[in-house]
């Protein structure tokens, strides 16, 4: 059996830690089920800085140190890997997750300490890798779904690992290996709705993988049938992301059993669904999946007290049910399902409305319209569920009229928002479409761009064809103030002859605008 240390990197430092890393929690459970010894150091939860890492690395003689997270954890991971190889050079350093899968070749070059990367879904690859390490076999040249190194340290990307077909074969994540009482439960409440503000003990679950839509800024982690691995023009394997999707769900029974266990073991009162989009998944299931979850939620006694006929909110700590939240979609939600979701305990739903401009929405791949976006806010609110709209500015085709359309809708709907900036996160279609422009804006240094990425509240690389960073910062404030007068004035004096675009689109090997599904295992 191998001795494994997981390190969960710091993410979104500007906020308190709120999210148990679901992927790492699952991989820890899988490793333990396979007889391995596991410890987790949750650097994001503890926020003790890099100073404590040497002690963590020296706490035992690790066979494997495993680290991974989304792209914005890059800088933390890079430093954590450097320290790991310095302090515990004999441990085999394995990385995985979004930061690696979106750009495996670059990451292996930028972080030379990584011995092996797991690319895409790790459910099958991870235990296979552990078994080999346990057998002192570190030749991974024939292992699917990894990027390893040849004798000279050059990264070699192997072929795609088919994703698993039956999600219900997965064990429950190892929640108890995270500081629930010490950290996470203290940060359970959120300001998204009154009910969500009252709750005390939240744990997130991921009930489905995939989303049938193709928003240009979104990325599906290479874990949803969206990824192929093919030879580039130099004959080297590289990742190719597509519009392909292998949509997968946990069955409603699996989900209800999981929530019942969480209630029993941790007395939770809230679940946030991490799913990319509950409503697109409901549409893909022909409107059966969410309905069944809600009905079974109520039948299992998980309906919160305030949602029961004639019921009222329970005293803090005495809630017999479980509230929940997730993500929705403006043109795919329906009054019937929203009503049922409310009854079952849904408190708020995030709507990625993004813009209220018809042209921008048409090009975005979101499958919604300005009118549907406007209607969705009231439709959701009428069900009792709080809609949480997301707004973005700085789209490639953003202009003064599109900003005006968005401000007008915000005023009409009574929404106050400081919009995010359109950002091309690695893996997304935007990233590959604007990669050259991005590099240019960072003096050719792509690593600096990746290290600069945060939560899109500040300008990184501009992908707008019309506006510079300077102008977008002004427009962000104008939208936040909903100030049409200053917008009109800005437009009147804008436009200088001879200024070329900041961002220009390009074709790329790494993105295929086609519905080609990545492999899924053959069993039915």
């Amino acid at each position: 059996m191998a001795k494994i240390l997981f390190v969960n990197p710091v993410v979104r430092e500007e906020d308190v830690p709120r999210h148990i890393p679901y992927g790492i929690a699952l991989l820890a459970a899988i490793a333990m089920n396979n007889g391995h010894l596991v410890q987790i150091y949750d650097a994001n939860a503890w926020r003790k800085g890099f100073g404590v890492l040497p002690d963590v690395y020296l706490a035992d003689d690790w066979d494997v140190i495993a680290i991974g997270g989304l792209t914005t954890t890059y800088s933390f991971i890079k430093e954590a890997c450097r320290i790991a190889k310095e302090v515990a050079p004999d441990a085999f350093l394995v990385a995985g997750g979004g930061f690696l899968t979106s750009m495996p070749q670059d990451i292996m070059e930028w972080i030379p300490q990584i011995d092996l990367g797991i690319v895409g879904e790790a459910f099958v690859t991870w235990p296979e890798v552990l078994e080999k390490i346990d057998n002192k076999d570190t030749d991974f040249s024939a292992t699917l779904g990894v990027i390893c190194r040849d004798g000279d340290g050059k990264p070699i990307l192997n072929n795609t690992r088919p994703i698993i077909r039956d999600l219900n074969t997965l064990p429950a994540p190892a929640w108890d290996l995270f500081p629930l009482e010490e950290v996470y439960f203290k940060n359970s409440a959120s300001l998204f709705s009154e009910d969500a503000y009252r709750i005390k003990r939240r744990i997130d679950i991921n009930a489905s993988y995939g989303c049938s839509l193709i928003c240009r800024y979104c990325w599906h982690l290479g874990t949803t049938g969206d990824m192929l691995i093919e030879k580039d023009s130099n004959g080297n394997n590289d990742v190719v992301f597509t519009y392909g999707r292998n949509i997968r769900y946990h069955s409603p029974d699996y989900i209800i059993d999981m929530v019942k266990e969480l209630k029993k073991n941790f007395n939770i009162d809230f679940v946030n669904f991490l799913d990319e989009n509950l409503m697109t998944m409901d549409a893909s299931s022909k409107r059966t999946w969410l309905k069944e979850i809600c009905e079974k939620w109520i039948a299992a006694g998980l309906q919160p007290s305030s949602r029961r006929p004639g019921g009222k909110a329970a005293a803090p700590g005495e809630e017999p049910g479980v509230y929940w939240s997730g993500t929705s979609h403006a043109s795919l939600h329906r009054p019937e399902i929203l009503k049922l979701m409310y009854e079952a305990g849904c408190t708020h739903l995030v709507y990625g409305l993004e813009s209220f401009d018809p042209g921008i929405l048409k090009n975005l791949g979101k499958g919604t319209t300005a009118q549907k976006n406007i209607d969705s806010v009231g439709e959701c609110m009428r069900s009792g569920i709080m809609p949480i709209p997301n707004i973005i500015i700085g789209f490639p085709e953003e202009d003064f009229q599109s900003v005006r359309n968005t401000i007008n809708a915000l005023i009409k709907l009574g929404i106050h928002a400081r919009p995010h900036f359109a950002t091309a996160y690695p893996g997304s279609e935007w990233y590959y479409t604007y990669k050259e422009s991005i590099k240019e804006q960072y003096d050719g240094d792509l690593e600096r761009y990746v290290a600069d990425l945060g939560d899109a509240t500040k300008i990184t690389a501009v992908i707008s064809h019309n506006f510079t960073g300077l102008e977008l910062l002004g427009l962000q404030e104008i939208v936040a103030q909903r100030n049409l007068r200053v917008l009109d004035q800005a437009e009147k004096y804008w436009g200088r002859p001879g200024v070329t675009n900041v961002a220009a689109p390009q074709e790329s090997f790494n993105f295929r605008r086609k519905k080609i599904d990545g492999p899924i295992d053959g069993s039915k």
């Binding site: 010894l37 410890q39 003790k48 963590v56």
Partner: protein
């Protein structure tokens, strides 16, 4: 002391990290966060650790 690492076995060398690792660092960070949040108007924030300024006085005091 909180249990900084959790797992399915006992590690050989227990971590010896006090509960509140560095009070002053926490306080400084919290202060910086609050100060940065309130920037605007007459409120500004100067980073202590990021000072690149060097005295214009030369070493011999001229």
């Amino acid at each position: 002391m909180s249990e900084l690492m959790k797992g399915n076995f006992e590690v050989k060398r227990k971590l010896d990290v006090p509960d509140v690792s560095d009070d002053s660092a926490d306080f400084k960070n919290e202060f910086k966060k609050k100060a940065l949040e309130s920037i605007g108007g007459s409120m500004v924030f100067v980073e202590r650790e990021m000072l690149f300024w060097e005295s214009t006085e030369s070493a011999d005091g001229e």
